[in-house]
């Protein structure tokens, strides 16, 4: 016996809309049981997780900070994935963007000008895009698998950053600790509004996501992306070049990841250090699919995932549970969201196969 997923002929539109709420309900039930089993009050646990972070201006800012890079990267990746280009290396492009942008405040630290910040942002985008150009070139001209190349370049970027902050860019006045000098005030991304520390990075994220949504919906480019993603042959008949699409989607997603990198470094860290990302580039892949590869959906998904981080900390504190518990809860949530989405598109079929009858390949 085996289990197969079979695509539904007519997925229900109603359930497609309800799916996230259904998933939330299931998580609340399963999570409630989990908290009750470890002897914690499930009601206050769920309250701290989902509601408390939304009631405080401060934690709203924190959610925005956490969501900004996820949305910015995720929106770029959605274009890539829609066009059937699998950029897995956004984490590396994020880091390279941060490094390229940081050239201005680190190497030219004596130069003070209002141009510093705009230049940093532009450099950040170029840095990320150039780094994504490597797997793009390899795929377009050497037919290399971009999943592998982009992923492996992540580790190179991480070690390059590590080398920079320990070596040539190490701050002269940090007791030999592996950090660059602090960015000057004009190199810091300003805060969005006075009530908290959320910075312009969040605005970039929203603008980019909405812009990409408009592009996908109303422009020929959007059509080209969809067609080439669904069938390269059909795209070619329509006169679209899949090679050019590789370049376009990789440079775009790399550039946005780079912008996210320099925004994060300039807005919240204020210098380069060996680790500047808790895995935003990878988490953004989850965000992109959670948002169903729709840039507007990705805004919601990014905010939602950020909420689970901030809420997870709140639960740790109010109930004094281990952070493992909050991670299990996050896992439950993602599991239900993704499985609800899957089951709306697919149905489960039990296949009782007899010897000699089973077709090879089976479930996926």
């Amino acid at each position: 016996m085996r289990i197969e997923l079979e695509k539904r002929a007519n997925p229900s539109t109603l359930y497609s809309v309800l799916s996230p709420f259904l998933a939330l309900g299931l998580t609340v039930i399963a999570g409630g049981i989990m908290f009750a089993l470890i002897g914690k009050d499930p009601v206050s646990a769920l309250y701290s997780f989902f509601i408390e972070p939304l009631l405080d201006i401060w934690s709203l800012h924190e959610i925005a900070i956490k969501a900004a890079p996820l949305i910015l990267i995720g929106a770029g990746l959605s274009i890539c994935y829609r066009s059937n280009n699998w950029n897995i290396g956004a984490e590396g492009q994020f880091i390279m963007g941060a490094i390229a942008g940081a050239i201005v405040p680190v190497v030219f630290h004596d130069w003070h000008s209002p141009l510093v910040l705009p230049l940093m942002l532009v450099f950040g985008m170029i840095g990320g895009a150039l780094y994504a150009a490597i797997p793009a070139f390899l795929k377009a001209h050497m037919n290399t698998n971009e999943i592998l190349t982009s992923l492996m370049l992540v580790y190179i970027a991480q070690l390059f950053l590590d080398w920079l902050v320990r070596g040539p860019w190490r701050s002269p006045d940090a007791y030999n600790f592996p950090v660059t000098r602090d960015f000057a005030p004009e190199a810091i991304l300003p805060e969005l509004i006075a009530s908290g520390r959320a910075n312009l990075g969040f605005a970039f994220a929203i603008i980019a996501a909405v812009g990409l949504w408009l592009m996908m919906r109303y422009t020929l480019k959007g059509f080209e992306i969809t067609v080439l993603g669904q069938s390269e042959r059909a795209g070619r008949f329509a006169g679209f070049s899949s090679k050019r699409m590789i370049w376009f989607s990789m440079l775009l997603s790399g550039g946005l990841a780079g912008l996210a990198g320099i925004s994060e470094v300039s807005g919240t860290i204020g210098k380069l250090q060996p680790i500047i990302s808790p895995g935003y580039g990878f988490t953004a892949i989850i965000v992109a699919f959670l948002g169903r590869l729709n840039p507007l959906g990705i805004i919601a998904a990014g905010l939602f995932l950020a909420l689970t981080y901030v809420g997870g900390e709140a639960v740790q504190l109010t109930l004094s549970v281990s952070d493992k518990v909050t991670r299990v809860f996050q896992g439950l949530l993602l599991f239900f969201v993704l499985s609800c989405d899957t089951l709306i598109q697919y149905k489960i079929r039990l296949v009782f196969s007899r010897l000699g009858q089973s077709s090879e390949g089976g479930a996926h």
Binding site: S44, I269, Q273
Partner: protein
């Protein structure tokens, strides 16, 4: 569905406020951990200190903590959350929390902060650290006596002064017994990664070291040493359970007394920002029992420990040459604290290039 959530939320809100009100009269002393509180090393030592603190004051205080807080942008949020939740005193227990601690402290002048092992302080930010190098010196003495090949392996975390100082102290201790003693160093570039730490341990043993010491947080190197049948030193916590026939001794961080002292100061209203760097004599670090060694080595270690406690012996006493052969300390000269805290050079005898 929405109605249910709304109902849940409202009832929860009421409960939440009720809980908050009953907790009002306890003083909150809060902790931020970089690792898991059961890591068997650095963070566990802090958590044992936290429990000692809680036991000492009982119902008078609460000691909430956040564990596995990454160094970086997430740290600032975690620390600010603590400050906002009404903590009177926040201990941030990893070097990488330094800037975040100072930043948050500026926003919350009424909350006191204590940052472990850093060098930035403020009106409401104190720093505290232990003179771990005193323990490393004793380990060096033991290593030189026990090792047959005269080569020790050292699993280091990051090339920061704290760690470089430890390596130098270990080497200097060993060379006071065996002038030809060598140390091989592997930089794991992490505080907490059992896999990497174990790999480093294996690599060092394959390179022919027959004694192992570490400046990382987990018991993985101790386990590898046990499997390969060589001796090793524990770090931050007593790791004897991971190597009953392997551990010679361990530098045990005993933060509890310090946490109690500082909490008392907060309760009394006498807390002041200080830069504390205590040693063996203050009880902020202790040596785990000297085990798996002959009696004469044990006696030597105990004597050195007593001398360090009494102040008769400073581990960094000349003559000491730097790795490049130039003189650092003249005969009988003692290093000042400033040089140690900014230490970015090896002394002679370290078989490694300091990462630049």
């Amino acid at each position: 569905m929405k109605k249910i959530i709304l109902a849940l939320a409202t009832s929860a809100a009421v409960l939440g406020f009720a809980a908050a009100a009953s907790a009002q009269d306890k003083t909150k002393i809060c902790f931020i951990y970089v690792g898991s509180k059961t890591d068997g090393g650095w963070t566990q030592a802090h958590d044992i200190g936290r429990q000692a603190l809680q036991d000492h004051f009982g119902d008078k205080i609460e000691t909430p903590f956040l564990e596995n807080v990454p160094e970086g942008p997430d740290a600032e949020r975690a620390i600010e959350r603590m400050a906002r939740s009404g903590c009177a005193l926040v201990f941030t227990t990893s070097f990488g929390f330094m800037d975040a601690t100072v930043k948050v402290a500026a926003k919350f002048p009424d909350v006191k902060f204590e940052h472990a092992t850093g060098f930035k302080s403020a009106e409401n930010v104190a720093t505290y650290n232990a003179r771990f190098y005193e323990g490393r010196y004793i380990q060096g003495l033991i290593a030189a006596k026990i090792s047959e090949k005269g080569v020790a392996g050292y699993i280091a975390s990051f090339p920061i002064p704290e760690v470089v100082m430890g390596i130098n102290s270990f080497v200097h201790g060993a060379q006071s017994i065996n002038p030809d003693f060598k140390v091989k160093v592997i930089w794991a570039n992490t505080w907490f990664d059992p896999g990497k730490e174990a790999d480093a341990a294996k690599a060092l043993i394959d390179q022919g070291v027959d004694i192992l010491t570490q400046h990382t947080d987990t018991t993985a190197p101790m386990q590898v040493a046990s499997e390969r049948g060589i001796k090793a030193f524990g770090q931050a916590s007593d790791m004897i359970a991971a190597g009953p026939n392997t551990q010679l001794t361990a530098i045990v961080d005993t933060w509890g007394a310090y946490y109690i002292k500082r909490t008392q100061a907060v309760l009394d209203g006498t807390w002041k920002s200080e830069q504390v760097w205590d040693g063996l004599k203050d009880g902020i670090l202790t040596m785990a029992p000297y085990t798996n060694m002959p009696d004469d080595v044990k006696k030597l270690a105990e004597e050195a420990e007593a001398k360090i406690r009494s102040g008769e012996l400073h581990p960094f006493t000349g003559p000491i040459k730097k790795q490049d052969g130039s003189d650092w300390l003249a005969d009988g000269a003692v290093s000042d604290d400033g040089t140690l805290l900014g230490m970015n050079f090896y002394i002679a005898g370290v078989d490694d290039q300091l990462p630049k």
